[in-house]
Symmetry: D3
Subunit: 214 residues, 6 copies
């Protein structure tokens, strides 16, 4: 029993890689993903706050930092499996909750159990913070899939992930932070361009030519 095991488990999240079984140019661990989601949620929360919403920052950060912790207990179950029947999904959620509860009771001293039971709850609820988490999680996934497409990963899966992530974000289109993302951030992402090798010839020739007149 002990917090030591909990601290050690954080490092295990550095060794769970997302989307196994598909070729990727860049791997992302659950630990890194959780960091990025927390930072993106921070920005989205700031947008909502500037628009006059009341953000419970403590709650928002807790949701972002913990939202994938349970993968330590359950492993990586493919989404089509998880959602293949409502019955399986319900049972699976029960198992996940049970395992989390047992982990907390085994590793956490009494006085911390209540607060950690709250922290390990499913975070994507109907609160403002739950919705910000849902959006931030998908924005990071959008960036991960965009990174692969931009590096010319031929695997069609990444286009499917991009579309799935975007369509989930669009479900929250009434939120100010989603509108901000769609209008101010996404266009910049799409405007990113490649350096073509053919440009190199031109650039090189110009530079060599210019240097002759120095």
């Amino acid at each position: 029993m002990g917090i030591h095991h909990y601290f050690k488990s954080l490092s295990d999240l550095e060794m769970i890689y997302r989307c196994p079984g598909k070729f990727k140019f860049q791997e992302h661990s659950v630990a890194s993903h959780s960091f990025k989601v927390a930072k993106i949620a921070q920005f989205l929360g700031t947008v909502e706050e500037l628009a006059g919403k009341d953000v419970d920052w403590r709650l928002l950060y807790e949701k972002a930092l913990n939202h994938d912790y349970a993968e330590l207990f359950t492993g990586d179950i493919k989404t089509p499996v998880k959602y293949s029947s409502p019955e399986l999904k319900r049972l699976f959620n029960e198992v996940e909750e049970e395992m989390t509860r047992k982990f907390i009771e085994r590793e956490f001293p009494k006085e911390f159990q209540k607060v950690y039971l709250g922290r390990f709850k499913e975070g994507k609820d109907e609160t403002l913070e739950g919705r910000i988490l849902a959006v931030a999680d998908k924005i990071d996934l959008l960036y991960e899939s965009f990174g692969e497409i931009q590096k010319e990963n031929p695997e069609p899966l990444f286009l499917e992930i991009y579309e799935e992530a975007l369509s989930t974000i669009l479900l929250f289109k009434e939120m100010t932070c989603v509108q901000y993302f769609l209008q101010e951030i996404l266009p910049d992402m799409l405007r990113e361009r490649f350096i073509e090798q053919s440009e190199l010839v031109e650039i090189t020739e110009k530079m060599v030519e210019a240097s002759k007149n120095d």
Copy 2:
């Protein structure tokens, strides 16, 4: 639709690493594991054959090469989750079978579907070949965990895996090939020794001394 997708999927098995989320000195992919299980099963089958048993080699190799293919559809579900309730286990099995069936119907031309439905069936049944597969699968797991323990991986999980693998092998202790493994192979594994840095001093001194008299 097409065999092309099936051939391509073989390479995805090179990118699924066993036992994610735990520090390992050496990673093992599902593709490599399947290769090693097939080779170990080959040896175990040879022992049984020499002892007079009739081995259906075609069936044995099919079982060994295919036994983890379905991880492509389902992902890596941790064992405690899978076995947490008989109901969940039954549902998971149904989903796995359903997904395999759909994959075969989608990717394989009609004339191959029947033979591949057979090949993708759960292999660890009560036949001689099914039992050899069960043993070979655990022998490779024993070697994987032994490799980590021998490299001094401090993660206690690998001792648990070693014990779990050995205890499963012992369930089949009536089989000639298991007796052979226990008597002729396992003792050699356990006799492997470390090279201590302290030995280096002695070896070095002896060699330097000896060279003086050349």
Copy 3:
């Protein structure tokens, strides 16, 4: 200009590895480290809160998530260099602040600049949250060096890092959360034991023996 560049830069932190130029069994990125520090700070803050302290959670999470972001601009400067003279240290700090300010002015729209200038400030100040960050940062470093020592990394540097991290933690020994760490967590870490290969012989023999009487 744009938040897009800021979001993209989060992924660059996944590719900065801590402590370059030394052999390590397990690498840790700045992104992963920031995640772990945020989670450790969360626990330490909970201890302080239970002890009756008032924790500004928003501030604590901001400090933890941002504390190493500036490495993107400055690179990894070895500590002995940074601290070689008070003058150099002062100049380096000025450059770091200047670069951070320029980055924010270039990439962030006006309305976000003030809040992000605050977020990117040096976090380890005299506030309760600043001190929790200082401790959490060193606890993660302690775990990183312990992980190497436990895996028998022969590099003496990791013992030096362990000692340096522990001695910084001890500077904050008046804090409730540090006392909790020293009394309840650190002893569990030190009690972790190795699995000796020699144990395997014994375990194996016992299991084989026991199975004979089944």
Copy 4:
């Protein structure tokens, strides 16, 4: 002496990477390659069987699983070296056979030596199974080189490998399984297409537009 060394050597094949000294996006080990060749040979054998041929499945699997095992003894000798003179080629083959024979005599108990001497023989002979192995080996090489070309590896070597592999396959064009490959599988491989970043703009705009009318 012992089977233990043979079992352990299987794991060494996980650490021999094909085509060293050339930049690759995805590495393939000899163990993985052997697995894939066995699975491809399984399919090709099935095609031949459906066409009425008699397949010796035991032999086919043995050939596929063992065909590169001798690289453990000889290392990776570049093809132009191996074939630079008929004399050198003959000598290399003699050395390889001698080393394999010695390994079997040293590691395998008497009763297994004969069967393993057979299994480690050069597999690509004139039998149906030998020809299926020759084709399956090259199909996997074709997929490996295609994977690099598709990911835009600028190294011209991979085009040479693609051509060399295809031309070897074409030598066996009278075989039913080769005709099946050329007509049903290869066209699907060549039809695979890239996702262009430019498509993303269009897809994104359509999705955002559509969501406005929800």
Copy 5:
């Protein structure tokens, strides 16, 4: 104290990767870079010698092999930081020299100190050998950035590095070896072409067609 530590430190240079924090398809260590710079300098020196210049080969090799050794003491400080003010640059150089001096005095026996103090001096001075080093260092950087652009790395940084490297080379355009590089080597680099997947269709069809007439 001892040469042993110096020999061991060479291996640390194998674990310092250039340009951290940016996605790269191929990593380059400081050890590999130093090797390549020494080989490129060898060629450039040969060009100068054939043109009648007197090359001090001992000096040239020493400069090339040692030019990045000090990164072991200072770490990887980003160029914009280093050059942000003349004062910082001066101070930083003083620290680097001081650290190098201390390292030599601590690790090298008296009789070797003078020669190694010379070897660890900043190599890019006004001598012929110093200028060859400056060019060789940038040619390797040009190749590293070209390798990324050719593999379609979307990171604009690599174009900036390419331009910066080329413009530094052009500063030395009066040197025979630079003229040789610009006229004989650079054009070959730029002429390198991609294999397009679309070519595969044509090549494949031609080969299949041709084989029909065998």
Copy 6:
């Protein structure tokens, strides 16, 4: 044809890893190895020079930097194969020389061919520089195998490599630089010690205790 191909091939040496097919904690490329051998040879040459020998530095550096370049053409052929018969060894050397000659004639302009034919010759001859190379090559191999043994690699091969490397070094025991190595450097290597986890308990307790009296 062109120097461009020669420059590009240097990067291929970064992707040839030494001793494939054996588990290693730390990989070493041929490029890194060549760098380290050149630096070790530099030190050994300095010892000889201080002892009054005349060192041809140009020759020494050329030998060190080029000594494994031919692995690009031939691949990694295991030593027992190469030396299995004098006839094979002779033929193999002829092939290597032929391939090197052809490479130089194909890639190098006429005016450079002679000097590069000299540079690519087998370097380990009877000259002082040839003997220094032979020793430096084995010292680096000794360090590579020591690094594995020190990290507790259970593979007995590394002890064999250590012994083989040391016994080759001892063949040159009359050289001043070898005596220096044996007396001044090797003992320091062997004196390196492990950090035991058990020490951590003691160190930690002392530090915590001491901090109580601050």
